[in-house]
């Protein structure tokens, strides 16, 4: 009895559930729709007469199908059989549903108004992905196994136009499976709407119908159970109370913590009154991150046209190195609406984040000055006049590079020695070549005797040093010179008898002079200021590399000091008995009188090429093969007071002017620099060095430029000897 009741109840409850079933089923919504529709039809046919029911033929069709389906599945569920008489409509559609479950493809056919209704599914391919037929001409097979051809596809425009014309278009749904267009009827529409709202599809179905209890309780003679009510129903549970006590205790002891209500974020004036917060952060100084660069014109969405690179330029970016390649290529968008989304927006900010927490920060002094302000303030060059400015004369006649020049003490004559083996004497003012000696060997160095009354010219050529009588001066002087240059000839063989001299003094008949024969090539010759001594340098001469010859005694001696390194040149002090020997790295200063080493000047240069001493004697300039010029102040230190990097190529020679505060350097880059080098008598004041002029004019030959430069003894004129076999005179 009870069982039956329950059964009924279950059935009642299961009805709506079974109606919901297709929702869960994995069927296309269209199928569902159609099914609902059929159900509606069925119910309409027996209970309700719908006013807006349009399609009678369809109703008839579905009626047929209904009866058929019912027949096919009678007794499939026993439960239903019981209630069959009660609610026919419901049961009907239940059966219908089951049927559609079993052969789920029927609906499409049923729906269509054509005559092929009975042929249940049009397409029989089953539940396979429709993509498989995408490229085929057919959509599947009918029951007979024939191919169902695809309908001709309307092109989009046509379909759009059709849809625009057809006011009912929105009711049409394309059924992909059967390749058909299906129109939704009003009823179906209503069904869909109800379903969308989450209601039961039937309008008349009431899910909350009052429960009718068919069991009459009051009539029963006997209760279901006759047992007396147990005691436990009346007394409180012991175990529950124990549990409660336990919990209470746990709460009191704080073992159980309650969830705190979730705290809202509190806001308060964090900085309060700014003025009071003078507390200093107790950690290190915070270095704020540099702000990102602000965008320039080129980043605009609509930049000026000139900011947009041409296509060629963009292509040329491909050839650049990665780091040189511009990261951003400007583009122009004609209006605000056409700006696309920026691809790297998130990435840029992420990179900024990385910079912020991964990059070491250093405070760097950024020099924001005008580069011109770095230049030292030099006195105006006009105030430092006179100095040689322009080429005034050229002395031409040598066949090969002029290696050396020397100006006679009076400043009237210039002697020059060249690689073509000649020594020439020129008149300064006119450029006339006065005399030529054919030495026969390449002349390395020429030097006039500094005494005016002793116009002797020392010429170094190969291993020899020749002392030539130039023939200037009045007769008395000539006589004296001849005497000086003559006497030695007879003596030398005597001297050579007892010991092997370093240098042999020979009489040179051809040139009417003395030939000093060295054992190695002589590179330079230098006179002492008194005109009696002269020093020669043989770079390969080892311990006897630097020699001092005395003209009056025809005597030669080597300097009594140990040489460190290869000597390059040697110079006498202009006033005192001090001797400078420059080796490749350093300059050593010796006192010849006391035979004592005085000082070592550390040039710090790679290779010294020349040296010159200021007429005051306290300042020395050293030129090097790396194009640097060092100014040493002997009083200050052994380090250079000033290093001037003026020439890009080797400095070949440097020279001081004897009376004007001028000095010059000449180099293989075919230029000569003229400097103002003022030495003050006040010891507190450092020398003033100002570059004045760059003299050009020589041309390069064999990679060599200007070989020598010398100042005129009285005028601020500069003579330069070029490798292009020209001697030039620069005047103020």
């Amino acid at each position: 009895m009870k069982n039956k009741e329950e059964n009924k109840r279950m059935r009642n409850a299961s009805n709506p559930q079974s109606e919901e079933e297709p929702l869960i089923n994995e069927k296309p919504p269209l199928a569902l729709l159609q099914k609902q529709h059929q159900r509606q039809l069925a119910s309409a046919s027996d209970s309700e007469s719908d006013s807006d029911y349009e399609d009678f033929s369809e109703a008839g069709d579905s009626g047929q199908s209904l009866s058929e389906s019912e027949a096919s599945e009678s007794g499939s569920s026993g439960d239903e059989g019981i209630a069959n008489s009660d609610d026919n409509g419901l049961d009907d559609d239940h059966g219908q549903e089951d049927q559609s479950n079993s052969s789920e493809l029927q609906q499409g056919v049923e729906e269509s108004d054509s005559s092929e209704d009975e042929v249940a599914p049009r397409n029989t391919i089953g539940e396979v992905p429709l993509e498989w037929y995408k490229d085929e001409a057919h959509i599947g097979y009918d029951l007979a196994g024939k191919k169902i051809k695809k309908k001709e596809r309307q092109d989009k425009l046509d379909s759009f136009l059709a849809s625009a014309d057809d006011s009912k278009n929105w009711l049409k749904i394309y059924d992909e499976y059967n390749d058909e267009e299906v129109e939704v009827t009003r009823k179906e529409l209503r069904l869909v709407r109800r379903l969308l709202k989450g209601k039961a599809p039937h309008a008349d179905f009431d899910p909350y119908a009052p429960y009718v209890d068919w069991f009459k309780w009051d009539d029963a003679k006997h209760p279901l159970s006759n047992a007396p009510e147990p005691k436990r129903r009346f007394i409180p549970s012991k175990w529950e109370s124990k549990k409660v006590v336990k919990l209470v205790r746990a709460i009191r002891m704080g073992l159980i913590k309650f969830d705190k209500p979730k705290e809202e974020k509190r806001f308060y004036p964090l900085w309060g009154d700014d003025s009071s917060s003078t507390e200093k952060a107790n950690h290190l100084a915070y270095i704020p991150a540099p702000k990102p660069k602000l965008p320039g014109h080129e980043e605009s969405y609509n930049p000026s046209l000139e900011y947009i690179p041409t296509q060629e330029e963009i292509n040329s970016y491909q050839l650049m190195y990665d780091e040189d390649r511009p990261k951003f290529i400007p583009r122009r968008y004609m209006s605000l609406r056409s700006i696309p989304a920026y691809d790297n927006g998130v990435k840029d900010i992420f990179e900024r984040c990385l910079d912020l927490y991964l990059c070491p920060r250093v405070r760097k002094k950024r020099i924001n000055i005008d580069p011109e302000s770095l230049k030292p303030k030099l006195p105006s060059r006009k105030d430092l006049k006179p100095y040689p400015i322009t080429c005034y004369l050229e002395y031409k006649g040598h066949q090969d590079a002029v290696m050396s020049i020397s100006i006679e003490a009076s400043g009237q004559w210039v002697a020059s020695g060249s690689l073509d083996g000649t020594v020439r004497i020129w008149e300064v003012e006119t450029g006339r070549c006065l005399r030529v000696w054919e030495i026969g060997e390449a002349v390395k160095c020429v030097a006039w005797n500094p005494l005016h009354e002793l116009p002797i010219l020392a010429v170094s050529a190969g291993q020899d040093v020749l002392l030539l009588n130039t023939g200037f001066g009045d007769e008395e002087e000539q006589k004296k010179i001849k005497e000086i240059l003559h006497v030695e000839t007879s003596k030398t063989p005597d001297d050579s008898g007892n010991k092997v001299p370093i240098v042999s003094w020979l009489q040179d008949d051809k040139h009417e002079g003395i030939r000093l024969r060295h054992f190695k090539t002589v590179s330079s010759v230098e006179w002492h200021r008194k005109g009696d001594y002269l020093s020669t340098v043989m770079p390969a001469g080892e311990s006897r590399a630097v020699l001092i010859h005395q003209l009056s005694k025809k005597h030669t001696q080597r300097i009594p000091f140990k040489l460190h390194g290869l000597p390059v040149s040697a110079v006498f002090h202009p006033t005192r008995s001090i001797f400078f020997i420059s080796t490749k790295k350093n300059v050593r200063v010796y006192d010849l009188w006391q035979q004592k080493f005085i000082k070592k000047l550390e040039t710090g240069l790679r290779e010294v090429s020349s040296i010159a001493v200021h007429p005051g004697g306290d300042n020395v300039i050293v030129g090097s093969k790396e194009g640097k010029l060092c100014w040493f102040d002997m009083d200050l230190s052994s380090q250079p007071y000033r290093i001037l990097k003026c020439h890009p190529k080797d400095i070949t020679n440097v020279a001081f002017h004897r009376s004007y505060p001028l000095f010059a350097s000449c180099s293989d880059d075919c230029t000569a620099y003229v400097f103002h080098g003022m030495v003050y008598s006040d010891l507190n004041q450092n020398p003033l060095v100002v570059p004045l002029e760059i003299l050009r004019g020589h041309t390069s030959s064999n990679g060599r430029g200007v070989m020598d430069c010398k100042f005129h003894p009285r005028q601020p004129w500069l003579f330069t000897a070029g490798a292009d076999s020209v001697i030039k005179l620069y005047c103020h």
Binding site: W271, E279, P295, S300, S304, G345, L354, L358
Partner: protein, 605 residues
């Protein structure tokens, strides 16, 4: 002995003692590397560059004090707690106890960053100085979609959106916006708050491109955590400085319509008005706000009191006093710039079509004193309103047009803002290609190249400045005809060029004259000798040859002063020269392109 030998017992000194590598720091703090990074981000600790890298060049170095600073951070303890707590949850889960796990999850230890913000920025100005990145980030996240895979929660996105709107509402309200620039990357804004220039970038209102793998959102979210807190408190401070309660309570209707900004500005307006009308009423804000009615609006309380004393009698009615206070505030607070900005769109009424970037324009136009409405619900006035002067439109053509208003493209607004004048609208009308949009952040003179349109704007600015009372006929014509102005400019420049040319010729003449004089003197000196004359004539020829290369002489001069410089200075100078040259090359490139373009145009016509 090893060079760096340190005898036992002797402490480390110098860089070895002051800096430790990252791995050392991690070990020292007993944290994992990700946690260390997180801490660094939260605390604002960054690596340093020691002069001498004791452990080698490929390490990252942190200052010992920075590490100690991290070590004493209470957050470190909280993070450890969290980690332990995570283990509890994991355990509960692996024991199949989802109830416990869920309950535990509700109680994960939380933390706030207020203290850290306060520590990092002891003063509000410090915070403002660092607000650039913060704003950019918050604005970016406000535009991002919530992403589950990247742990981007909806709440945070909403919070970012709210914060950004609050900030914009403030800036707009106090008219502190100075420059706006639409770039390809987004829209740059520059505001000046309490003397600090704050620049930020907002992405365009489009779907953001999310990079797949090269962005670590964890890092960004950690930054965002700090930034959210920072901006919240900054907003709080700023809102209270204009006597508005924070957090704002918005009109839910407007909020639902997604016109937050408008809702906010309405709120601010309403709030500040109420506080102006009845300042003594402590009902709405409570004691807290009374406390923080700070010096922003009422710059000098003593002044106020003095004024009160003077106006003893009318003090009975609070309105009078407040008006007074307002006046004082108005005069003192607003600098020249703000006043100028406030007035720019004063008499104009804007209407935004639906295709223009509404958010940006709703922010910008009120910031410069304009009244604005838009198409859609909740708008203050409709399109049909006759008093609208400008309609902002961004479409190829406008169908129906009201004659009483001008239809301009949005760029017009931004260009006006940057130029601080009302530009003629001709070039910006619907359907035209607008003139180039120039960056307001570039100093054209320093850059060495002034784009054409910048010059036009400059002229227009000058024109408006001169004509305080513009004559209706002439002034307007002048204003509206940039072409004419341009032509004038060209003529001016040509004249200047001519003058320069003349001057050069003069100097040449002078030089020649001097040379001749000199030659004469020379000639006199050595007139007796024959060859010398020839020589001089030859020399003269040489001179003539060398005359054109004035450049060489200039170069010589430069060389000569370089010779005397010390090595350091020379290197520096050379580096500067290189920089200058690069800049010049850029400018030359621009000029070249311009010339080519002009030539092309001429050729076409």
């Amino acid at each position: 002995m090893v060079k760096h030998y340190r005898p036992p017992g002797k402490k480390k000194e110098g860089n070895a003692a002051r800096y430790i590598t990252r791995s050392q720091a991690v070990k020292h703090l007993q944290v994992t590397l990700p946690l260390f990074r997180r801490l660094c981000i939260l605390k604002g600790v960054f690596p340093r560059e020691p002069k001498k890298k004791v452990k080698g060049n490929h390490h990252t170095y942190y200052h010992v004090k920075d590490v100690a600073f991290l070590q004493h951070e209470p957050l470190l303890e909280i993070f450890r707690d969290k980690r332990a707590y995570e283990k509890k949850i994991k355990k509960a889960e692996s024991k199949k106890n989802p109830d416990l796990a869920n309950r535990l999850r509700t109680r994960i230890p939380t933390y706030t960053l207020d203290r850290i913000i306060r520590e990092r920025y002891p003063k509000f100005v410090d915070a403002l100085r660092d607000l650039d990145d913060c704003l950019t980030m918050v604005h970016l996240f406000a535009a991002l979609p919530a992403l589950e895979r990247e742990k981007l929660e909806v709440d945070r996105i909403h919070n970012c959106r709210r914060l950004s709107h609050e900030w914009q509402a403030y800036i707009s309200r106090v008219h502190k916006l100075r420059k706006v620039f639409i770039s390809v990357k987004g829209i740059y804004y520059q505001a000046e708050v309490e003397g600090q220039k704050v620049t930020w970038l907002t992405p365009h209102a489009l779907q953001q491109v999310l990079p797949e793998d090269d962005v670590d959102f964890n890092v960004m979210l950690t930054f965002l955590e700090v930034y959210e807190t920072l901006l919240t408190f900054a907003n709080y401070h700023l809102y209270h400085s204009i006597n508005v309660k924070y957090p704002p309570i918005l009109d839910p209707r407007l909020e639902a319509l997604a016109s937050d900004l408008y809702a906010l500005s309405r709120y601010i307006d309403a709030n500040s008005r109420t506080s102006v009308v009845d300042p003594q009423a402590p009902t709405m804000s409570g004691s807290e706000q009374v406390e923080t009615q700070n010096k922003g609006t009422q710059p000098d309380e003593s002044d106020l009191r003095l004024a009160q004393l003077q106006y003893q009698l009318p003090l009975n009615e609070p309105g009078a006093l407040m008006r007074l206070a307002e006046d004082v505030a108005g005069e003192d607070e607003e600098d020249e710039d703000t006043r100028e900005c406030k007035k720019l769109f004063k008499s104009l009424k804007f209407f935004l079509s639906r295709e223009v970037p509404r958010e940006s324009l709703l922010f910008v136009i009120p910031a410069f004193g304009g009244v604005v409405s838009w198409e859609g619900e909740g708008a203050p006035f409709k399109e049909a309103d006759q008093s609208i002067t400008h309609q902002i439109v961004d479409r190829p053509s406008q169908g129906h047009k009201f004659l009483s208003r001008e239809y301009v493209q949005p760029q017009w607004v931004y260009d006006c803002v940057n130029a601080r004048i009302i530009l003629p609208t001709e070039n910006y009308l619907v359907g035209r290609v607008p003139p180039p949009h120039l960056s307001p952040f570039v100093d054209n003179e320093a850059e060495g190249y002034v784009p054409e349109y910048a010059e036009t704007i400059k002229r227009l600015q000058a024109a408006t400045r001169n004509e305080v009372l513009p004559l209706p006929g002439v002034g307007k014509e002048d204003l509206e005809d940039p072409q004419k102005l341009l032509v004038e400019g060209v003529i001016d420049r040509a004249e200047a060029n001519e003058a320069a040319e003349r001057k050069r010729k003069m100097t040449l003449e002078q030089n020649r004259y001097l040379d001749e004089l000199k030659m004469e003197v020379d000639g006199l000196q050595s007139s007796s000798t024959g060859p010398n004359n020839k020589q001089t004539s030859k020399e003269m020829e040489a001179r003539e040859e060398s005359e054109p290369d004035i450049q060489r002489i200039a170069q010589d001069h430069a060389n000569m002063s370089k010779v005397v410089m010390s090595r350091n200075k020379r290197k520096l100078y050379e580096a500067m020269e290189i920089g200058k040259k690069r800049k010049q090359a850029n400018v030359n490139l621009l000029k070249e392109r311009k010339k080519k373009m002009e030539a092309g145009q001429k050729f076409e016509s």
